[in-house]
């Protein structure tokens, strides 16, 4: 079958070449269409539903908003988990879908149910809306407004942001949302003086009603006049402060009482839950641009930049947009890191080919497999919707050396056969024979390489999303290289390569000089090992011993942190903190940061602005650090070193938890909202107080289990509340309804929007509330007067009890139930037995009341699941590899011999990690996996040839030595090309290189030992594992 295909391609050479060119052209086209990102997007597949209800406490938000929204979302197809957070004034419901669910489908079904939810939320309690169509990678550009004139107020700047910049940026294709933060949203404030209400015998409701009723435009159809239609409209909209002032609230004896008489009218800022500061000096107005899901980051960012230039032109004199964070630089840096590595790898590989093949022509044929495989991979990436990023392109860089392997073997064999061929032999026949000889092993070898990457496909979660693209592109490129090696290489060799110099006749075929040099020291070495096999055994055992010794010394980490190139200092403060206080503290920290000489600028985001992709609570501040150019630093090195300096010099900030993070990592973490500890016990139940109590008791119990460390209960309370409880007896005496009291509290203290003022298309709310001094303290709230039906005024204090309590800071729910989680790490024992013991302890103690449930999860659960999955996949793959080997060699012994290649290859990887001081991590493991494939491939090349010699009648010992000497070229070439292909990744210090480096280290180190094994030990062992029956 395979032979026939090879012959077919040789017969239809033109067709094959045209086909190949077309394929490559398609690949190139596809590459241009590929979305380019910095990293693979590890954000979970989720749809967020936000509901903004200003002024409502977490309990009410949960009851009136979160609950109906959650209810509507349950039972949707593909939903994995629904998690919600009810905060002060904001409900966020995260609907997590299974990986692979189409985001637009998910949004569509959520959108349909949202309608249902809207109907269930009481009037005036907010309108649920879906979050932006974006992911954690979507925050592509942050900017602030620089006002050099200093004459614009924060309200004016915010208006410029909201009504000018935002509108223009939103029209950029690929931008899904622009969120403003900082400054104040402009509002018309009608601040009522309660004593004036008393004087004119008015109530707050009457005033609000009057404001509403004097601010409207209406249409009244049309009249006919002289054959023309005149549209009738009445204009009564208030257009500014003058109109508001002159609204008549009441007429007494023909004397009008104007709004101005009872209230102070002015322009002010809306209530805000966030702000932005800069350089420790004061507030600025800022914005964040969010990119649409699935669009090409670099294109979108390019368009945004063009637009920014345009907008800057139309901004008022002296005001200008200054971007302070751009993902562009990150995307460029990450992509250029791998593209550089790719190009350098290609060059190095081509150089090696030239040296080893000893001729330009075969080198060209082999080199051509690189562009073909890479473009083929691009074509498939386009088809499967993979984006070009650090990992997917990294996969190509990793595969460069391996991509040429199949073709090397093919071309090398053709080369050898052509040299051996007599002048009379048909070129095509010789080539065809040569190709058929190695076609099968090539097919099997490359299939094995692809197969070893299969377990990576089954990775889930963050590591899956990170490393699957790499595995995919490796597989795709290898598949492309297989096609090239099997069907195009024969065609190209027939076109390019010359028959051996005629007349050479019986003399030994001409090996390139390089190879002959290599053979001089190699032949006696391999001869030594073949004759003294036990020496080979000793060598292997020593190597394995070294590996076994070093392996436990290796540190372990999950995955090296990707360096995004931007440092964010994240401050978390007490949950009850006020905006004023956090602003003060953040400015202090900013000043401390600015004192560090490497830092040029700092700009902080506190809390949240407009709700969307960013919904931080008010106690959180993120300081973006802008550094001076590297040349001005006191230290050499990269981000890590600078982070160390910042940590050191920032020191302890009283009352503030300081974390150093990065923009994308931070956003993605928030979306994942995962539990970082090994073990997380979630207690589900209804009553918050009971939950809190049970959680504390459970934590105490867990603490007693040996091995427990860092036991921590989620802090759910901590937000002080002023609880006003209406006294039903008291209101009954006065004949007042509960709602009457509450309405006054809401309007007087919180404020009520009584319409809008239109300035052209700009729309600003009219907020009616008491003057600050009549509502800004507990005392003044006690004195708010409530009107009774018979005209009396009663202070609130007489109708309600007012107490200060500590309430929940947020209410978290999962799958429609409240929960509190207890996190814990396990030290010095097996986590499985720990869980069993703890579980038993809790069951026995019966601290869980009826209706309360504890679930055990955390990282360990994910690990268990992954291990379970891998426990099935890995043996299956190994079995499959073994079957392939067996199918190739038809011999159990041969197959075992080749599998033995693997441990020695691992030794090299382990040693290399140890020498370079790196840890065992996920990318290192990926390197080990790649190593499996390469080691197997090398072994196959050699054993196949030895078998062949054996069949030709050469004695085993002689065959071992001769065969090894003759195959030194392809074995060394494949090993060296692979190693050199990775070398640029090893030495790169660009963005993202920290993830690729462990991988490259492992493969290169492993190749050293694996090549030693293949070249020295394998020929020695060959005799024990040979196919005896042949003799």
């Amino acid at each position: 079958m395979l032979e026939r295909l090879i012959d077919f391609s040789l017969k239809n050479r033109l067709l094959m070449i045209v086909g190949a060119v077309l394929l490559m052209a398609a690949g190139l086209f596809s590459y241009r269409q590929l979305p380019v990102d910095a990293f693979p997007d590890v954000s979970p597949n989720l749809v967020q539903v936000f509901t903004l209800t200003e002024g409502l406490a977490p309990e009410e938000i949960e009851k009136y908003v979160t609950y109906p929204v959650e209810g509507a979302m349950t039972g949707l197809p593909g939903v994995e988990t629904i998690r919600s957070v009810s905060n002060f004034g904001l409900s966020v419901v995260n609907v997590y879908f299974e990986d692979g669910t189409d985001i637009y489908f998910a949004r569509q079904i959520v959108g349909e149910r949202l309608q249902e939810a809207r109907d269930r939320i009481p009037e005036g309690f907010g309108d649920p809306e879906m979050g932006p169509i974006s992911t954690g990678m979507g925050q592509v550009l942050f900017y602030y407004l620089d006002d050099t004139t200093g004459k614009y107020s924060l309200e004016e700047l915010r208006s410029i942001q909201d009504w000018l910049i935002k509108f223009h940026l939103q029209t950029v294709p690929g931008v899904t949302e622009v969120l403003g933060i900082g400054g104040y949203e402009k509002q018309y404030h009608v601040e009522i003086r309660p004593d004036q209400l008393l004087r004119f015998d008015l109530t707050l409701e009457e005033v609000i009603e009057r404001v509403r009723a004097n601010n409207l435009n209406v249409g009244a159809q049309f009249i006919e006049k002289n054959s023309e239609e005149f549209i009738v409209r009445s204009v009564g909209l208030a257009t500014g402060m003058e109109d508001l002032r002159s609204i008549v609230i009441k007429t007494r004896d023909g004397t009008p009482v104007f709004l101005d008489d009872v209230a102070h009218i002015g322009i002010g800022g809306a209530v805000r839950r966030g702000l932005q500061t800069r350089n420790g000096t004061g507030e600025v107005v800022a914005g964040q641009v969010i990119k649409l899901f699935g669009t090409n980051s670099s294109t979108v960012i390019g368009r945004i930049e063009e637009k920014l230039v345009e907008i800057n032109k139309i901004l008022p004199e002296g005001v200008r947009i200054v971007p302070y964070y751009q993902q562009k630089s990150l995307v460029q840096a990450a992509v250029s890191t791998v593209v550089d590595a790719l190009l350098q790898g290609v060059l190095l590989v081509a150089l090696v080919l030239l040296i080893f093949m000893g001729g330009l022509r075969p080198s060209i044929v082999v080199s051509l497999s690189l562009p073909f495989s890479v473009l083929f991979a691009f074509l498939l990436m386009g088809r499967f919707g993979l984006s070009a990023n650090l990992m997917s392109l990294g996969g190509l860089a990793v595969a460069i050396g391996m991509m040429v392997d199949g073709t090397i073997v093919m071309v090398e064999n053709v080369d050898r056969r052509l040299r051996l061929a007599g002048p009379g032999d048909s070129r095509l026949k010789v080539i065809s024979r040569a190709c058929r000889e190695v076609g099968r092993p090539i097919l099997f070898a490359i299939t094995i390489i692809i197969l070893v990457f299969v377990p990576l496909f089954t990775l889930q979660g963050v590591e899956g999303k990170t490393f699957r693209p790499l595995a995919y592109t490796v597989a795709m490129a290898m598949f492309g290289s297989l096609i090239f090696a099997l069907f195009l290489a024969p065609v190209l060799t027939s076109l390019f390569m010359r028959t051996g110099k005629s007349g050479a006749g019986g003399t030994a075929p001409q090996e390139p000089r390089m190879v002959r040099w290599l053979q001089v020291p190699y032949r006696p070495m391999v001869g030594f090992f073949v004759r003294r096999r036990w020496a080979a055994v000793v060598l292997s055992v020593v190597l394995l011993g070294v590996g076994a010794l070093i392996f436990p010394r290796l540190g372990s980490e999950f995955s090296p942190q990707l360096r995004e190139g931007t440092i964010v200092v994240r401050l978390t403060m007490a949950p009850s903190i006020s905006l004023t206080e956090i602003k003060k503290t953040t400015l202090t920290v900013e000043r401390r940061l600015l004192a560090i000489p490497e830092i040029r600028e700092v700009i902080s985001r506190i809390g949240r602005g407009e709700v969307g992709a960013h919904t931080d609570p008010i106690n959180s501040a993120e300081i973006f650090v802008i550094l001076h150019p590297k040349s001005e630093w006191r230290v050499a090195g990269g981000q890590e070193e600078i982070e160390e300096i910042i940590r050191e010099e920032l020191g302890n900030v009283p009352g503030v938890l300081v974390n150093l993070t990065q923009p994308i990592a931070m956003t993605v973490d928030e979306l994942l909202e995962g539990v970082r500890a090994e073990l997380a016990v979630k207690i589900f139940g209804d009553n918050l107080d009971v939950l809190k109590e049970v959680a504390a008791e459970t934590a105490a119990l867990i603490q007693e289990v040996p091995g427990a460390a860092d036991v921590q209960v989620d802090q759910v309370s901590g937000a002080p509340q002023l609880l006003i409880r209406v006294d039903r007896q008291a209101i009954a005496r006065y004949g007042v309804n509960v709602a009457d009291v509450q309405e006054v509290i809401r309007a007087a203290v919180g404020g009520v929007v009584a319409g809008q003022i239109y300035e052209d298309i700009r729309r600003f709310d009219i907020l009616v509330r008491y003057v600050p001094e009549a509502r800004d303290s507990v005392e003044s709230i006690r004195n708010v007067l409530i009107a009774t039906p018979d005209g009396a005024r009663v202070p609130l204090d007489d109708l309600a009890s007012i107490e200060e309590i500590i309430g929940p800071r947020q209410i978290t729910r999962e799958n429609n139930q409240r929960f509190i989680s207890i996190q814990c790490n396990v030290v010095g024992r097996d986590i499985g037995s720990f869980v069993a013991e703890a579980q038993e302890l809790i069951d026995d103690s019966s601290i869980l009341p009826a209706g309360y449930l504890a679930t055990w999860g955390g990282q360990f659960r994910l690990q268990q699941e992954a291990n379970k999955r891998l426990a099935v996949v890995v043996p299956l793959i190994l079995l499959f590899i073994f079957l392939l080997l067996f199918g190739n060699f038809n011999s159990l012994r041969n197959s075992v011999l080749i599998l033995m290649n693997i441990p020695l290859a691992l030794v090299g990887g382990v040693v290399a990690l140890w020498l370079t001081g790196q840890n065992l991590s996920v990318p290192a493991s990926v390197g080990f996996i790649a190593l499996f494939g390469i080691a197997l491939e090398n072994g196959m090349v050699l054993v196949t040839y030895l078998n062949q010699l054996l069949r030709e009648g050469v004695p085993i010992a002689e065959a071992s030595i001769q065969g090894a000497c003759q195959r030194i070229r392809p074995v060394l070439m494949t090993a060296i090309t692979t190693a050199l292909g990775l070398l640029p990744l090893l030495f790169s210090s660009g963005t993202g290189s920290e993830v690729q480096r462990p991988l490259a280290t492992v493969v290169i180190g492993g190749l050293v030992t694996s090549t030693i094994l293949t070249l020295l030990v394998l020929p020695a062992f060959y005799k024990w594992f040979t196919v005896k029956e042949e003799r």
């Binding site: 004036q196 004087r199 377990p455 590591e463 292997s540 055992v541 394995l544 590996g547 372990s556 980490e557 999950f558 995955s559 403060m573 007490a574 903190i577 503290t585 202090t588 009283p654 009352g655 938890l657 993070t661 931070m666 928030e670 539990v675 970082r676 090994e678 860092d710 921590q712 209960v713 989620d714 802090q715 901590g718 002080p720 005392e779 004195n783 018979d790 009396a792 009663v794 007489d798 947020q810 978290t812 790490n825 990282q859 690990q863 992954a866 291990n867 891998l870 890995v874 012994r893 075992v896 033995m900 693997i902 382990v910 996920v922 290192a924 493991s925 080990f928 996996i929 024990w1024 594992f1025």
Partner: protein
Amino acid sequence: MKPSLLSIPAAFRYWIYLTAVLVTLQAPALLAQEHEDDHDDHEDVVKLSAAELEEFGIVVTEAGPATMVRVLDLPGEIQANDNHLAHIVPRFAGIVIDVKARVGDEVTAGQVLAIIESDGSLSSYEMKTLISGTIIDKHITLGEAVSRENGAFIVADLSTVWVDITVYQRDIPSVAIGQKVFVSGGQGLPEVTGKISYVSPVVEEETRTSLARVELPNPDGAWRPGTFITAKIIVENFAVTVAIPRTALQMMDGKDVVFVETGEGFIPREVKLGRSGKDRVEIVSGLSPGEKYVSVGGFTLKAELAKESFGGGHNH
């Protein structure tokens, strides 16, 4: 010839490695947790340098005695002094033939305000004011037929006015005659002091409020009857051994605490609150005079103590 023997250790090791590699594939980010280990050594003590106190605006004050006042903020209205008010009515029904005074005119006792021709006697008589004062109301027009039922003038002596303060039910027990009152009318009127001279013995049925009254001298007539005012009644005035500003109080675990400076640093101390004034509050126990406590910026110290718990829900 036992080749299989040789392959055993190799194969064995291979499996060890393979398993190890696969396990690390799923290795959790344990390291991220390690920095949280050491939170046992600082038991509710916050140490801050003088520079840090300054940087974060934390003020340390010495506890000491204070005189505190309890104040009630109540609305009120300026009324003409009832004791110096006169309603001037026509003695006999008749026709008004002359009006000699207008609203606002200052009159002296016995001054003629109008001349009326009596219906009965058809003779005219003079209507005279009974007191000196200002005419604050007039219901009489030339040619009008007036009778004894119509009041013609109201003359008030505005050299003193009444401040009628609305006292809500809850405040009635606190208000007593003789208490000092600050009266402010806003709108350019000065704040003046007075004393409560009268407290109404009843609660008005309709408004459920009672009345306290201050008599205010009004030499230049600035306090016009009908003006709305705010009254601050000093209902209590007491000396305490320790009083602290409200800003010093922090709530921790539902208890009131004050951060006290000790040799080791600042520690939160639970205090028992006594009577409270407007901005200050009496400390019954927990803080002795002479001790240094944090009067401003205690929140930062409280937050520093609770810092470890901030992470929950927002861990990185």
